[in-house]
């Protein structure tokens, strides 16, 4: 082999003929101390009582979950908490076949989904289980599967996953974020 080795790069004598390094591990890890905001704190404490709370916008009544204390569309503060049911539908979903390195207790394939609770304007993320992954579909009705009462904490992990209720699906045209737009009554009619 001539001086010009791979990629037209010239190497010194000491590096010729040795196996070249082609990749390098650069893991990153950030440990941090999480302190919830006032609205997140209420949300987490409600989980401890198996309640799910959202924030209702004073502008048009849209309910946001998780509650952030603000309607991001209008930039107005929200203080009205509302209880949401632990039932809704799958707005969209993803089937994952590769495990997350270092994450225990999550067997592949698993289904992560946008869960649109009944009465909420937006979805939030959850795991769907209780049926084969290839049966999960947009519009499928689901309910929360809670941890046993003696394992509850102030955490969203109190909901183990979401399982099918067996009710008829939400029609495709009203599933997911479309349900929000449809529900505003300004076009498709509520």
């Amino acid at each position: 082999m001539s001086e010009a080795a791979e990629g037209g790069v010239r190497l010194p004598e000491s590096l010729r003929g040795v196996e070249p390094v082609q990749s390098v591990r650069t893991p990153i890890r950030l440990e941090y101390d999480y302190r919830p905001s006032a609205s997140a704190e209420s949300y987490l404490r409600a989980y401890g009582e198996k309640r799910i709370i959202g924030h209702r916008s004073p502008v048009d009544g849209a309910v946001f979950i998780p509650p952030r204390g603000v309607d991001p569309r209008h930039g107005v503060a929200i203080s009205e908490e509302v209880d949401l049911p632990d039932t809704g539908h799958v707005g969209n979903f993803c089937v994952t076949h590769l495990p997350i390195p270092g994450r225990k207790g999550l067997e592949v394939p698993y289904v992560s989904a946008w869960i649109h609770l009944d009465g909420a304007a937006v979805g939030f993320l959850g795991l769907v289980s209780g049926c084969p992954s290839d049966e999960v579909r947009i519009g499928m009705r689901v309910r929360a599967v809670w941890k046993p009462d003696d394992e509850l904490g102030t955490t969203a992990e109190n909901i183990r996953h979401w399982e099918p209720t067996g009710e008829p699906d939400v029609p495709l045209e009203r599933a997911g974020n479309q349900s929000f737009h449809a529900g505003r009554g300004d076009e498709a009619g509520a």
Binding site: G7, P12, L15, V18, V21, R29, E31, D33, Y34, T155
Partner: protein, 148 residues
């Protein structure tokens, strides 16, 4: 509310592996082989560690050259205590070290017990780990050169 505010210890973690390309790869190959390398610029100077493109003209750089295993401390600071994920588990210097044959200094640790043992202009030489895999940590650090 009278309740103790909530808090939680959270971790964000990604196990990245990056491809290196031939220039950074050559530098890392050198570390695995116990050799320090730089790259020659069109003006003849040598940049350590090597970069893929010239910082002034943006031309691709292609000539990897071996530099010395010893050099001079150009600037330094003292680290005490080391961070949790630092490659070093005790207080140490972090220094810009101008290796023999290089025209730019590189950052690495100087392994001394006290900041009183560090002086700008002092000579230091490379200390290698026994097990090397092609990573900057293959180079454990630099130690003051023995005065003959």
């Amino acid at each position: 509310m009278g309740e103790v505010p909530l808090r939680a210890d959270l971790v964000l973690e990604y196990p990245f592996t990056r491809t290196t390309g031939p220039i950074i790869g050559a530098f890392l190959t050198g570390l695995r082989e116990g050799v320090l390398t730089g790259v020659r610029r069109p003006d003849g100077t040598v940049m350590v560690p090597p970069a893929e493109y010239d910082p002034v003209t943006s031309e691709p750089l292609t000539e990897i050259v071996e530099v010395g295993q010893a050099g001079e401390v150009v600037s330094w600071t003292w680290v005490d205590p080391p961070r949790l994920q630092s490659p070093w588990d005790k207080p140490h210097g972090l220094a810009l070290i101008l290796l023999d044959g290089a025209d730019t200094p590189m950052l690495h640790a100087v392994l001394v017990d006290s900041p009183d043992d560090l002086v700008t202009g002092m000579r230091v030489s490379a200390v290698w780990r026994e097990e090397r895999e092609g990573h900057i940590a293959d180079l454990y650090g630099f130690a003051p050169e023995e005065v003959a």
